[in-house]
Symmetry: C2
Subunit: 318 residues, 2 copies
């Protein structure tokens, strides 16, 4: 849609050019969301410079990708496919003329990688970089955190701890190994795994944004039962070994405390077995690992072999 | 939905209590959006402390109301009814424990006043107060800015300039007259007027967030025609007179430069007459005033009586 005159709108025009054909519908008071099968689901995520990332750790494209991926991960955790997202950027006064377009380029790439598009957004000045993302998806059967039953088994996608390993190196001012940096800077929302898990009958699903240690507690609380997890079964990411040794903790404990992996934790009926997991891995390209089970009770019991372990989650207001 | 343990989640629990029964669905990775007739439309708006408001001008509830109302106004400008919104708050470290809940209370009141609900959101630390709102609505026939035709007439809802009059007093450190303060602090999104204008056959519709001077240019550009507006016909708000005199400009010019009134500018076929406007005013309780017309050409021509007038709009990046 054609915009009126003005320097602000020149900026918006430059920014929309990065979005290609996606942008043709943008510029009106609202964007129209395409119809589709299933329920519409929505989630919002705010990424703030100095809280969720530091400017010197990430390129502008990575700031956009990372914020969008974190929000898209919530769609994966609902068993939804991605329709699109709204992106609101707060841009510091000292940023270069095309910095907002660079951030939006990363947002666009992240949502495009899972088959969605940028539906619209807003632009403002602010002291810090701010990337506010609201994602829209569709789910034939939205899978909440609340449906797990005693006897269900707990599975986790991918590997855990690489993002935390990358963060640990960045906090020391070092360059992380490539796999750790990639996990931190360009996490992959597990949309395909979420859809496959929903189809396979997942009774509860959430994404590990704050780490298994903290997020498992939400699944337990919402489903009103207890989770029993064996940390030795955790699929620990390669870059964890060096960092865990440096920190003097077992690799599985380091991985369980690692936020921002954006892997999925799923409760599945016990009829779902290793052959089903192998088939899903072939379909999605993402591993699926059995790590524990649901029992009557409450809270999360973590064991490392025979030892009971207590882990804090990540708390923004601690 | 039951949340897990942790201080962050204690805060979220306190905040959700302010939302009453709305909040029962909140706490999962996504919120499910209710089905309904018509197209789903969406818009996002970012309000940043120091850019869109100053903390000392507004109560926390008003900060929330104002940010939500600004975003809801985009639904009015699409001829849509409100379904609900997602609210992402950035909260300064020095804010009181229940400050975020106070802001969310204002958001809740604003969306409730137009029949919608809070669907979900996010919470983060930040240097400034940030209120990121994404609104969802439904429109049987979404009215864009792009459909005006030569011969259509231009109508505006309510009165203009009161919010700017309030802002002018606040910038001097004075207390604005009550009507001016109310217009600035608690603007009313014109959802009912937008629905009525869409039903009456509006060919183009937008909200005056940046002032008639700037926003009229967007309608002209999107519809590929020229707008001719007679400023002497503008419905000037009462509080404008004192401020315009102080500024040494005609009241209509002061009002046309006033952003954040969130009134609607509509193009309607010439068959829509004064009797139709009077009937709509009785239905919605909001005045409708004829201020000009659409002609072949481009841009916006403003006249004050016989004199041509050039006005800048508000530009965030000027």
């Amino acid at each position: 849609m054609k915009l009126g005159p003005g320097r602000e709108f020149d900026r918006i025009r430059a920014l929309l050019q990065r979005l290609g054909p996606d942008a043709d519908q943008i510029g009106d008071d609202c964007s129209v969301v395409p119809d589709g099968p299933g329920s519409l689901v929505i989630s919002a995520d705010l990424a703030v410079e100095g809280i969720h990332f530091r400017r010197e750790w990430l390129s502008l494209e990575e700031i956009g990708w990372r914020a969008a991926a974190a929000a898209l991960s919530d769609l994966a955790a609902e068993g939804a496919r991605a329709v699109g997202l709204m992106a609101s950027l707060g841009v510091p006064a000292e940023a270069a003329e095309d910095a907002a377009a660079d951030v939006m380029g990363g947002v666009h790439a992240a949502v495009g990688a899972v088959g969605g598009c940028v539906l619209g957004g807003d632009l403002s000045r602010s002291d810090q970089w701010i990337v506010g993302i609201t994602v829209l998806g569709r789910a034939v059967r939205p899978v909440t955190r609340a449906g797990a039953r005693p006897g269900d088994q707990l599975w986790v996608t991918g590997t855990l701890g690489a993002s935390r390993a990358g963060l640990a190196a960045l906090l020391r001012g070092e360059t992380p190994p490539p796999a750790a940096r990639e996990a931190f800077a360009r996490p992959k929302p597990r949309i395909a795994s979420g859809l496959a898990l929903a189809r396979a009958g997942a009774t509860a699903l959430l994404d590990l944004s704050d780490g298994l240690g903290g997020d498992a507690g939400h699944l337990a609380a919402a489903s009103s039962l207890g989770l029993h997890i064996q940390l030795l079964q955790l699929p620990v990411a390669g870059p964890v070994l060096v960092e865990a040794t440096r920190a003097g903790v077992p690799p599985a404990v380091f991985a369980a405390l690692g936020g921002e992996d954006y892997e999925l934790l799923a409760a599945l009926p016990s009829s779902f077995g290793p052959a089903d997991a192998a088939a899903m891995q072939r379909e999605t390209g993402v591993a699926l690992t059995l790590i524990g089970e649901c029992r009557a009770g409450s809270g999360v019991q973590l064991r490392l072999g025979q030892d009971a372990i207590a882990l804090p989650g990540f708390d923004h207001f601690a």
